[in-house]
């Protein structure tokens, strides 16, 4: 009986015993090398095919290649630039630079605006006031569910192009006549630094450094003695008082270039064209709606027990928000917020639809039409956006690392 059982078991183990023979295609290492080789060859072949085709096509069409065109002069003009440019003398390289700066200018302003407004709406979404919460919800749903391009065009054609003419400009400064809005854009007074203005700047830098030192000292003191220090008020006072005193002591060395109506247009001050304003407002409203949802989700993601615990150890509601809720909510808010910033930079390329001279409109469209060099221009434009995106996502990675250290 026992012997036959053992025999059966032997038979069974013999049946499922793995084959000793080495099967070449069933070995994991061989297969992985084979797969990778196959992929690399396919991709390499496709790349080679595309490159030879491109080279051949460029030759057949008599198109030039290379980056020499960047030093040749461009003949066209643009309506908005932050650095000096003279049509006919400025080079394509300079146009690339202007495009990058214009893109960054509108993006940075839109990022600041949408972050502030998005936090504001996100908090309103959680308001205990039923009507306010619903109003914020309506705003978020309307702006998230319509295409951004449509919104950009709408702001441009329906708001900023139908403003009053220059003669009847709206005075936004309330009678002080320093900020005007009309259908040619926004005209505002512009500061002209005088001889000793650099001293004020130095004082400001000193104040900022002082704030950091103050924060460090206050934290150390609280760790040692348990005594809190009113850091916020002290910092604000330092930031305002020190540069302010220096500014007044050096005799207010800042003149204002005020726009004045001469003939048919304003002269002096700074001018932002309507296309810029429309793009900026559209970007702010669209992305603030997206950010508001992230902010709301972030605040809601903090466990209710945290609130209870904070109240139980005797924190005031304001201290509870700043010390317990907001630091934890930020962990959930910051990653989507940073990828939203990336989207702002990318979406600023919609400027092309309304004629603001950003990188795509200026370089990828106008310069490409004028000079050719499709491969180089498309490559440079994409490289710029990739550089910005990779820098921002690098920022995100650093933040994530820091946050992960906080977690156990």
């Amino acid at each position: 009986m026992a012997a036959s059982d053992a025999g059966k078991a032997d038979k069974a183990s013999a049946r499922i015993k793995p084959k000793k023979r080495f099967n070449f295609f069933h070995d994991e290492r061989v297969r992985s090398v084979l797969y990778q080789l196959l992929t690399a060859c396919t991709v390499g072949w496709v790349a080679w095919y595309l490159i030879t085709n491109t080279a051949h096509n460029l030759e057949v069409r008599g198109m030039n290649a290379g980056f020499g065109f960047l030093t040749t002069a461009a003949g066209f003009d643009m309506d908005f630039t932050l650095i000096e440019y003279v049509p006919g003398r400025g080079t394509y390289g300079r146009i690339f630079l202007i495009g990058c700066l214009n893109t960054l200018f509108v993006s940075v302003l839109a990022i600041i605006g949408s972050t502030i407004f998005g936090f504001f709406v996100g908090v309103l979404r959680l308001s205990s006031n039923w009507l306010v919460a619903r109003l914020a919800l309506a705003y978020v749903e309307i702006f998230r569910n319509t295409p951004l391009l449509m919104q950009v065009i709408f702001w441009y054609v329906a708001v900023f192009s139908v403003l009053p003419k220059v003669k009847n400009s709206l005075d936004l400064s309330g009678g002080a006549a320093v900020v005007f809005l009309n259908n040619r854009g926004l005209y505002s007074a512009w500061p002209v630094p005088g001889e000793f203005f650099w001293m004020t700047i130095v004082a400001l830098v000193v104040a900022v450094v002082g704030v950091f030192i103050l924060r460090y000292w206050a934290r150390k003191r609280q760790d040692d003695t348990g005594q809190p220090f009113p850091t916020f008020i002290a910092s604000v006072a330092l930031l305002i008082l020190l540069p302010g005193t220096v500014y007044l002591l050096t005799g207010s060395p800042l003149a204002w270039d005020i726009p004045t109506l001469q003939g048919f247009n304003f002269v002096g001050g700074s001018n932002l064209p309507p296309a810029f304003l429309a793009l900026l407002v559209a970007l702010i409203f669209y992305h603030a709606a997206h950010l508001a949802e992230s902010v709301r989700a972030g605040i809601l993601s903090v466990n209710i027990g945290q609130t209870d615990a904070a109240l139980a150890i005797g924190l005031r509601p304001s201290r509870m928000m700043t010390l317990v809720i907001i630091p934890q909510a930020m962990r959930a808010i910051v990653p989507p917020m940073i990828s939203l910033w990336m989207n702002v930079v990318k979406n600023s390329s919609l400027a092309i639809a309304i004629g603001y001279s950003d990188l795509v409109a200026l370089f990828m469209q106008t310069a490409l039409n004028q000079a050719g060099y499709a491969v180089e221009i498309v490559g440079m434009t994409m490289a710029f956006y990739m550089f910005i995106s990779l820098s921002i996502s690098g920022l995100l990675n650093i933040y994530n690392k820091r946050v992960q250290l906080v977690e156990r």
Partner: protein
Amino acid sequence: MAIVKAKKTATRPAPLSETTFIGWLHKNLFNSWTNTILTFVSLYIIYVTVTGLWVWGISEAVWVAKDRRECFAISIDGACWAGVISWLDNIFYGRYPRAELWRVNLGGLILILWMAPLWLPRVKHKVFIGLSTVFIYPFLAGYLFVGGEKDVFMQLMIAAAIVCLAGNTLHAIVGVFSGRSLPEYLIRLLGMEEASEANRRNTLLTSLAVALVVVFVAQMGWTIKEVPWTKWGGLFLTLVISGIGIATALPGGIVLALGRRSKLPVIRVLSMSFIELFRSVPLITVLFMATTMFPLFMPEGFVLNKLVQVIIAVCLFSACYMAETVRAGLQAIPTGQYEAAHTLGLGYWGTMNLVVMPQALKLMIPNIVGSFIGLLKDTTLVSIIGLFDILGMLRSISQDVPWRGLQREPLFFGAILFFIICFIMSKYSRHLEAKLSAGDQR
């Protein structure tokens, strides 16, 4: 000293603040000074917006007029909807020949008919229905939209699509009434329940082949006029581009996401650089690249039309975005699931198809639908490079002689249209999420 109540205390009514409308108002709108002020500010904002829109859009609006001048003559403050109304066909179909519009409508109807069984309970084999929508329906729809001469392959695919549509519909009807699948029902009808497996399979395959041949012969004489792609436009074009983008985004995104998480370094690096390349640049630069550089990529004499260039660009772009969504879902699956699948003896594809992917995709439904909505909205960018999609059509109203300068009303109409489509999609995804996660809640 015990206190004993002899009588039961009568239940008191709920406090007034919980039951009456005034109580609700007090609790939700006027519970503090700041909230009272906020309520009045909100009421004022709502009042201004609603009355403004009411006066402009409805009470003072002009619905019937010959041209914009007549609109102004009737009412200077109101919207001129007459222009939008007279352009409705263009907004929806572009310059598609008016006599052939039924083809577009039929294509849309067939899509609805094809996909309807997915929402019916008791219908089986929904995966097959979904797959056939992606892989077989496009041939029939493509022919309906394009028309012209058919080659043999196209004829075969059209015949297959028609058979598939008929089978799909019958399957859905049978499923709703009996809870069976079509093959089971056919076998029962023929009284072959007792027959061997091979016998039954052969019978089914034969009937399928017969149906295919009959339809193939029947459709040979059927040709419709060719409509060049340049005539396509409006919402129809937007839906075609975004529909193809959506249909390729999910499979493409899954492949790229798996590639990015692969253990093989070459595949991982390639997928990663491809995804990062397309994700870090704006769609408009990809579209420009498609229109300026694709012609250079192609061998000499091979001309790709602009629509195809745009569609390829949109597909690449949306696949890369979907890849990141899918990757997030894959990362959310705990390692225990992989280990359990390996313990059961599943290989890589078995693990992915049967264990990981179903969970990851379910988890990511709101994000997947979110990227579909994003794609639909982004498709409006094709109007910048000169295709007359819905936004292109809406903007060209202002260049039409009788309606010169009419810009606000068309954009407003388009915004409402998009809002309705996107809002319904996002609400449906929330519903789906709740339905699918019902099993996880205890």
